[in-house]
């Protein structure tokens, strides 16, 4: 029996050794906001935070998570970045967006006022095939300037 701490709640589940964190979140816990787009750690759609650090959940085995606090997009639904993304039109098809927002939230947790270069560096692992990148950059700027630093932190 495996115990996971997700978005402030506790979950118990059985999982085979090869189960990835992304599969466990989506299929065992029903948290389908985390997307799987490549399944090989190349695109960033599955990004979640472990103790505030962004990781690729599709190449993280669920048994390796241990007691670390998992934050998914479901735990960031009231994060100011959500409205910043929508207002800036940083969402087209939206399939990569949850992963983008998790990466951006992790960046702002570490660096509440990131520069343009820092945003580009931190988000370079999150692919968007629709090409919303200029709007994502704008949204993160907006999120960083509007929210007070404390409100940008995921609850832990």
């Amino acid at each position: 029996m495996l115990e996971l701490q997700v978005n402030g709640g506790f979950y118990r589940l059985e999982a085979p050794d090869e189960r990835t964190l992304a599969e466990a979140l989506r299929d065992d816990l029903g948290l389908t906001g985390t997307k799987i787009a490549c399944g090989e750690g190349h695109c960033g759609a599955c990004t979640v935070m472990l103790d505030g650090t962004p990781v690729l959940s599709c190449i993280t085995l669920v048994h390796t998570v241990g007691p670390r606090e998992i934050t998914t997009i479901e735990g960031l639904r009231d994060h100011p970045l959500v409205d910043a993304f929508v207002e800036a039109d940083a969402v087209q098809c939206g399939f990569c967006t949850p992963g983008q927002i998790v990466s951006a939230a992790a960046l702002m947790r570490a660096n509440p006022q990131p520069s343009r270069e820092e945003i580009r560096h931190a988000l370079a692992g999150n692919l968007c095939r629709c090409g919303t990148y200029p709007k994502i950059e704008k949204a993160i700027y907006r999120g960083a300037s509007q929210g007070s630093p404390a409100s940008l932190l995921p609850q832990s």
Partner: protein, 753 residues
């Protein structure tokens, strides 16, 4: 009253004239410019669901008892399965059904390309399904694959006949030209890589089939699935509430949907068939590679007197021939033009429509050729383009319904004039330059398409359609159009898409035809609903209908009275106002096209071959803009996807076996946020096309990807004097072109390298 008439229809660049039944479109267009809601920036009405991870995509559909399918694919580029034995796989843990060649449309013994589907099975879990693939015994009769497009043309291995266009006398005109330029241009095979892979979940209830599918065309899926399975079309329900991108590759059900439907029927349980990223990059469609052998003849003043083009399109095992010669035939006023297009049939994965298929490739060759003409004549490339402007369709002298390309050139001028300044910022190994290119594409309406607008006692409006939003912002644009026509605030309008039972036929989300087709249908449905609302209000308040209007959710009378809409709608109780609308015809005898210009600024490191795009200016002429915010996102997205096409993306095949080598997203290099130009400036001419529907809007999805690659390549020439003629411009290709330029002209006149 509906009437039968002849109109032109265009999908993904293919134009055909056909009889269609259309409804009268009696509405006059709105005045030009921003209105109350239309023409003003609107955040996406479904943005929060998507951003918060609440939107339910096909990838998120989990039905009780659902099985997972996996597909057996050919490991050979050309082979025939002489024996397929499913017995061992059927006995594997969790496997509930297995099918082989002929059991489902799309599964065939003859595998014409690497990854062609041969058999499939369904199991309790995805892991069990994939493990059981190994247990399907297939004996292959392996054959020699045909992989070279020129060889296919020489051997007559073609899809259809070569397509020819001829006007005037090209040889005579070339003989008299002051300058003749001949060159060969190439474009590579590109992969769509929508982040949601192709997938479907199929569930039978009795003889009714529900298909959840990631699609650009709900109606086509409904009709094709029904026809392929031999069941009535009305027995198929297709659902796609949210969709993770398509870019042209999801215009039909695909073998995965049919495989899921057949396996679901056999197993008596719902079946999900989802391609992995690797399968996506093998067998889910591609932008076909081209070889273009082009010739241009011009007079000393830059006037084009002759154009000739031979286009070899590497379509693969299956596919259709996109109009790659279209730009050469239609963009410039030239009397003598000869083109031939070949669709090479190869043992490679089939092509599919990909964002402006044909024109992306055709504009690449043509716009590079034009700059080479300008260079030879020492003329300004922008001047050469303006000199050859076509005032009517050069193919048949048809008038354009609207054309503001000269206005685009005029607006591009100040950006073009930055080039002295940009060049002067060359620094060390970094050479800087500016290039431009013109875009031409379709974007007319593609009637029919139907919409309803329903008003309930709550005073809210619901727009009903059976179309889909692939991520371009369709829900939002339709909400804006309905709100404008109803006189309602945007928040009072709900738009239903993504379910084939929610309306009549709805157009494909492709060919830049969504807004231009569904927009007029939604507007006419809203006008019908507003008219009924006013009729009821006139009776309620005892006034003439003629003095009433609806503004900002209120019914207002010419003499000054004003009542909230709810005062009327609440009288309805359970009664409802249902307005109906349909898209009217395209203008007859006119060519409906979109135009635009991109100006790119690049920096080239002449030591490493690295190319960076530093600034792009884009101006597009696509009729009325409904949502300037969403429109700017389309343009930026097209530019960024186009930068990937230009600099990094390329599907690679093993040249002897035909195996796809670039199956993953670390091998196939999509652009990232770090590759985005620091500055993209986006403008629209924003003039309604007075001849086109009640809306005057054309499509915008495809135009912005068309001119970006040639604008970048022309900027590279401006920066370095090197001619890049093959895509992608990898560092190797850039260094090769620089070497060639040095050998040709040891000291480049304007900028020594």
């Amino acid at each position: 009253m509906p009437r039968l008439l002849k109109t032109e229809r265009e999908v993904e660049g293919r134009v055909e004239e056909s009889w269609i039944l259309v409804e009268e479109d009696a509405l006059d267009q709105w005045p030009a410019g921003p209105l109350v809601t239309v023409g003003r920036p609107a955040a996406r009405v479904d943005g929060r669901e998507r951003a918060r991870g609440e939107a339910r995509y096909t990838a998120d559909v989990r039905l009780p008892g659902m099985l997972h399918a996996a597909v057996v694919r050919s490991p050979h580029a050309y082979a025939v399965a002489t024996r397929v034995d499913l017995e061992r796989a059927l006995a594997a843990p969790g496997v509930r059904a297995a099918i082989g060649p002929g059991d489902a449309p799309g599964l065939a013994a003859e595998a014409g390309h690497f990854g062609a589907p041969v058999a499939a099975l369904a199991a309790d879990t995805e892991a069990q399904a994939r493990a059981a693939l190994e247990l399907v015994d297939v004996e292959w009769d392996v054959r020699e694959p045909l992989l070279d497009p020129d060889e296919a043309v020489a051997r007559g291995e073609l899809h259809g006949k070569p397509r020819r266009h001829e006007r005037g006398d090209v040889d005579a005109a070339l003989a008299e030209a002051d300058v003749v330029v001949e060159a060969e241009y190439r474009t590579q095979t590109l992969l769509h890589n929508a982040l949601e892979t192709h997938q479907a979940v199929c569930e039978w209830e009795g003889d009714r089939l529900t298909v959840y599918v990631s699609t650009q065309y709900i109606w086509e899926v409904r009709d094709q699935v029904a026809d392929e399975l031999g069941i009535p079309r009305d027995k198929v329900l297709v659902i796609c509430r949210f969709m993770g991108g398509g870019f042209g590759a999801k215009n039909d059900p695909g073998d995965y949907t049919l495989v899921a439907a057949v396996l679901a029927r056999r197993a008596g349980r719902p079946v999900r068939c989802a391609l992995t990223r690797r399968e996506e990059n093998i067998g889910a469609g591609n932008r076909n590679a081209t070889i273009q052998r082009l010739t241009a003849g011009a007079r000393a003043d830059g006037t084009l007197v002759a154009l000739r083009g031979e286009y070899v399109c590497a379509l693969g095992w299956d596919g259709w021939l996109p109009s790659t010669a279209g730009p050469m035939q239609m963009l410039y006023a030239c009397e003598n033009v000869e083109t031939v297009e070949y669709g090479a049939r190869l043992n490679t994965p089939p092509m599919a429509a990909f964002r402006a298929p044909g024109f992306v490739e055709g504009v690449w060759g043509l716009e590079l050729l034009l700059d080479e003409v300008a260079a030879k004549l020492e003329l300004d490339p922008l001047e050469v383009r303006m000199r050859n402007h076509a005032d009517a369709d050069p193919k048949d002298a048809r008038p354009f319904s609207a054309k503001n390309l000269m206005e685009c050139y005029r607006r591009a001028e100040p950006h073009w004039e930055r080039r002295d300044d940009v060049r002067s910022r060359s620094d060390g190994p970094w050479r800087r330059g500016v290039g431009l290119a013109t875009q031409i594409w379709f974007g007319s309406a593609a009637p029919p398409s139907y919409a309803t607008v329903r008003l309930e006692s709550s005073g809210r409006a619901t727009v009903g359609t059976a179309m889909q939003d692939i991520g371009t912002g369709t829900r939002t644009a339709m909400a804006q159009i309905a709100a404008e026509e109803l006189g309602f605030p945007l928040e009072r309008v709900e738009v239903l898409v993504g379910d084939s039972s929610r309306g009549g036929y709805a157009v494909v989300s492709g060919g830049s035809s969504t807004t231009s087709t569904m927009g007029p249908a939604v507007r006419s449905a809203a006008a019908d609903a507003r008219r009924q609302l006013i009729e009821i209000a006139a009776q309620r308040f005892g006034v003439e209908e003629g003095i009433l209007a609806v503004q900002d959710g209120k019914i207002v009378a010419a003499h000054g009275g004003s009542w909230p809409v709810e005062e009327v709608t609440r009288l309805l109780e359970h009664a409802q106002i249902v307005g109906k609308g349909a898209c009217g015809p395209n203008p007859t005898g006119m060519r409906v096209l979109t135009f635009g210009v991109h100006v790119a600024e690049v920096a080239v490191d002449v030591e490493t071959g690295e190319v960076r795009v530093e600034r792009v200016y884009a101006v597009h002429d696509v009729g009325r803009i409904v949502n300037p915010l969403g429109a700017s996102s389309q343009v930026e997205g097209g530019i960024i996807q186009g930068i990937g096409h230009t600099l990094s993306e390329q599907r690679l095949l093993d040249p002897s076996s035909g195996t796809v080598l670039t199956q993953t997203l670390d091998a196939y290099k999509l652009p990232t946020i770090a590759d985005t130009p620091p500055e993209i400036v986006c403008e629209f001419v924003d003039r309604p096309d007075a001849h086109l529907t009640n809306l005057g809007s054309k499509g915008l999805g495809e135009p912005p990807i068309i001119p970006i690659a040639p604008a970048i390549a022309n900027a590279i020439r401006d920066a370095t004097g090197a001619d890049v003629r093959s895509l992608p411009v990898t560092r190797e290709e850039m260094l090769r072109a620089l070497r060639e330029a040095r050998e040709r002209e040891p000291v480049h006149t304007s900028q020594p390298v």
